[in-house]
């Protein structure tokens, strides 16, 4: 059929749509709404996912981590004994190749304050290096970031609230009075200053409101005013820091792998010798001598390389004497509270300088780290790590810088390898609502199918006549697919416009979820976003959904029309 003929079919299709205006409007409105919802949903979820990933990279993960392979395997348990030493040479190698690297020793523990305790994850960090790979340090809401050489902690805002450390943002009146009594030390100007920063909390309004609390005198909720200046906050922090409110104690058990200095004969006979591999026995036996006088096997080997081999042999054998438990209590002072866009640094987490934890007064780390965070030196804040920051690229750069291969037990892990669980969860989070939106789209297609079915039925006689005039079945089906396609097209174009109109404020201003996040205890809402949810402009999704809706709509006409052209022409002509 010629182009002209298709043009003629188009004319008939359009005129038929115009003939049944109400039906056309209703059917395409259904498509419009579903296309708009689909666009809005995917843009929003896409925006959330992008924002979350950026937050993970910028505030928690950096681009990649250098770790021992065994650590990565058990990363969920924070196996601090899977650490490594001599990390400085890897850092220097990376620096030479254009990467920043930050050492960390990560361990679990409990943090005690004067008001309570909380289970915490501690990151022992090098403050300067930390700031070169992650950005949470610029979100220290109150106070400052810890400094080298000091037993200082920065903790997440959730932990600070729970432990009643630092500046309270929503204290009860009596708590505030107690704080004023301690901090102001009967100095009237200071008392008035502190009091002037707080107001009675507004308990009404807001989308996610905690149920109103009963008002008992002194139990009223107070709130830190929103417009308090940085200078006033610093002054308040100084006053609070002068009390013992910010003094805390870390209680942690760190497991460190080490060749034991002494081994009791029972362990030696009962465990070590029975579990060692045959080829390792000689090595171990050579390293120890039995001391009759104290009744133990004593380590006599001094060569570090051989000690490493002995340690590996013991670890392979699962010998528990090779893991040293260090149970330490460390007194520290909270100097800063972190409130970043990513929920992780705001949670039950503490950052402490790594240098003070090295010896007996700290955690006896003795130069060990569990990971090295890595980021390209000029990495832009807004972009996710690309191919030049992949684990492969970084490992290659590292080996170039070292001038030799990476030791077998170490490997570079890309942030996505690390966040597999989260990414799977994110996929679920973004897919499920899209499936719902797609379902909506499907239902509107049923609408189209129904409209065409009725149209075909209504025009049975007309179809019979057109076939009598020599229109082929294929032309007939094309004509109706065009009609349905136009319905889809009108709906899609309107839907794309509507979707963009609805999406615009979500991209420009976003939805502030901090109230919701607060009421959920800052644990986040599934995505790694705490303050503002923003959409993105996803051009392929916008046009893709429009085109898909149009094409699918036109396919919806195929089956009803094919049924119609199967009817004998004489029956169609007689149809009333």
């Amino acid at each position: 059929m010629s182009l002209n003929g298709i043009w003629e079919l188009k004319k008939i299709a359009l005129r038929n749509l115009a003939r049944h205006k109400v039906k056309t409007v209703l059917t395409s409105a259904a498509i419009m709404i579903s296309v708009a919802v689909y666009i809005f949903m995917s843009s929003w979820l896409g925006g959330m996912a992008v924002e979350s990933r950026r937050n993970i990279v910028n505030y928690d993960m950096s681009a990649a981590k250098l770790q021992t392979k065994l650590y990565f395997e058990r990363k969920d348990e924070l196996p601090s004994y899977e650490n490594f030493k001599n990390w400085e040479r890897y850092r220097d190698a990376l620096n030479r190749e254009g990467f920043n690297a930050a050492p960390r020793f990560v361990f679990n523990g409990t943090l005690f304050s004067n008001s309570g305790s909380a289970p915490m994850r501690f990151n022992a960090v090098d403050p300067a290096a930390e700031k070169s790979v992650l950005h949470y340090a610029s979100y220290v809401d109150f106070g400052r970031y810890p400094q080298n050489g000091m037993f200082e902690l920065a903790i997440g805002t959730t932990a600070a609230e729970k432990l009643r450390v630092g500046i309270p943002t929503r204290p009860r009146r009596l708590e505030l009075e107690e704080l004023i009594r301690q901090a102001a030390q009967s100095d009237t100007p200071n008392e008035e200053f502190i009091r002037s920063l707080y107001e009675t909390a507004n308990m009404s309004g807001g989308l996610f409101n905690v149920a109103a609390e009963t008002h008992i005198a002194g139990n009223e909720r107070m709130a830190l005013k929103r417009n308090v200046s940085r200078g006033d906050l610093d002054r308040l922090w100084e006053l609070i820091a002068a009390t013992d409110r910010n003094n805390v104690r870390i209680n942690a058990v760190i497991d460190i792998k080490a060749v034991p200095e002494t081994i009791r004969p029972t362990l030696w006979e009962g465990e070590l010798m029975t579990s060692l591999r045959e080829e390792d026995k000689e090595l171990v036996e050579a390293a120890y001598t039995y001391e009759e006088f104290i009744g133990v096997y004593l380590l006599t080997e001094e060569d570090e390389a051989r000690k490493d081999q002995i340690l590996s042999a013991m670890i392979r054998a699962g010998f528990r004497g090779a893991v040293r438990h260090v149970n330490q209590l460390v007194d520290a002072v909270v100097v800063g509270v972190i409130n970043s866009p990513d929920p992780v640094p705001n949670g039950n987490i503490g950052y402490i300088p790594i240098d003070v934890l090295q010896d007996e007064s700290g955690m006896m780390l003795e130069g060990a780290v569990t990971e090295l965070l890595i980021r390209r030196k000029d990495a832009p804040y807004t972009e996710l790590p690309g191919a030049d920051e992949s684990s492969k690229a970084i490992a290659a750069a590292l080996e170039r810088g070292l001038g030799e291969p990476l030791p077998d037990y170490l490997a570079v892990f890309f942030w996505m390898d690390y966040m597999k669980d989260y990414l799977g969860y994110e996929a679920l989070q973004t897919t499920a609502p899209q499936v719902l939106a797609a379902l909506l789209l499907f239902i509107s297609f049923l609408g189209i199918s129904n409209t065409i079915l009725l149209a075909v039925l209504e025009r049975t006689k007309e179809i019979g006549m057109m076939r009598a005039l020599g229109m082929t079945d294929r032309q007939m089906i094309t004509a109706y697919m065009l009609e349905a396609g136009f319905l889809g097209f009108i709906g899609s174009v309107l839907g794309m416009i509507l979707g963009c109109i609805v999406n615009y404020p979500m991209v420009e201003y976003g939805l502030n979820i901090s109230a919701m996040a607060d009421s959920l205890g800052n644990s986040g809402v599934g995505f790694r976003v705490t303050a503002i949810m923003r959409s993105v402009w996803n051009i392929p999704v916008i046009f893709g959904s429009g085109i898909t809706a149009t094409v699918l709509a036109s396919f919806m006409a195929y089956f009803p029309t094919r049924r119609a052209v199967k009817m004998p022409i004489t029956d169609s002509l007689r149809f009333e």
């Binding site: 059929m1 010629s2 002209n4 003929g5 003629e8 004319k11 008939i12 005129r15 038929n16 115009a18 003939r19 006689k461 007309e462 019979g464 006549m465 057109m466 076939r467 009598a468 005039l469 020599g470 229109m471 082929t472 079945d473 032309q475 004998p568 022409i569 004489t570 002509l573």
Partner: protein, 242 residues
Amino acid sequence: MREIHRILVIKGVYRMVVIKAENVTKDYALDGQVVNALRGVSLEFGSGEFSAIAGPSGSGKSTFLHLAGCLDTITGGTMTVDGADAGKMSKQELALLRRNKIGFIFQAYNLIPVLSVEENISFPLTLLGINKKEIKERTAKVLKEVGLADMAKRRPKEMSGGQQQRVAIARALIKKPAIILADEPTANLDSTIGREILELMVALNKSEGTTFIFSTHDTMVMDYARRLIRIRDGQIESDVVK
């Protein structure tokens, strides 16, 4: 597929055979029972004929017209339309045969309601893929022939029954078909209008040489026809050339 045209001699006039039915039978199922609509009909129609097939309802006259127009397939015998064996053609080939050779006029006019008069008339030419300029010229000419030159832009529902049937005639005529089959063309019209329509078709038969075959039970149509075939119970009762 195509055979050399047979020559038919009617009243001393030599005519080419356009439709040739040989012992055609047609059965169809109605409410689970087989109806023998045609029981062995043999007929020949030559070009330029103006013939009517008459008979009471259910006699099989419309069935024969539909078979001759390739709207339906025969059960037995052979049906040759413009030299082509319709019984052996596919659905697609039949559609093309109808498009090229056959014009239809229906009792209920059957115009496309969303198209204007001239668009309805030019529709068959569009299907044939003829260029716009020629379509325009031929449409204007046919509109003049059926006396609707001033109604080109109207929609079917804005016209009377007679006017609509003129549009249908123009639509059948425009592609210069080998044959125009008219199924009870005057049944929905009053006698004055019906006569006007018949006069128009007679005139076209004379001036253009178009072949018309009617099915009818209207005596006025039978009067106008120059050959009258009577059918009863699916068989030919008489075949008279006036």
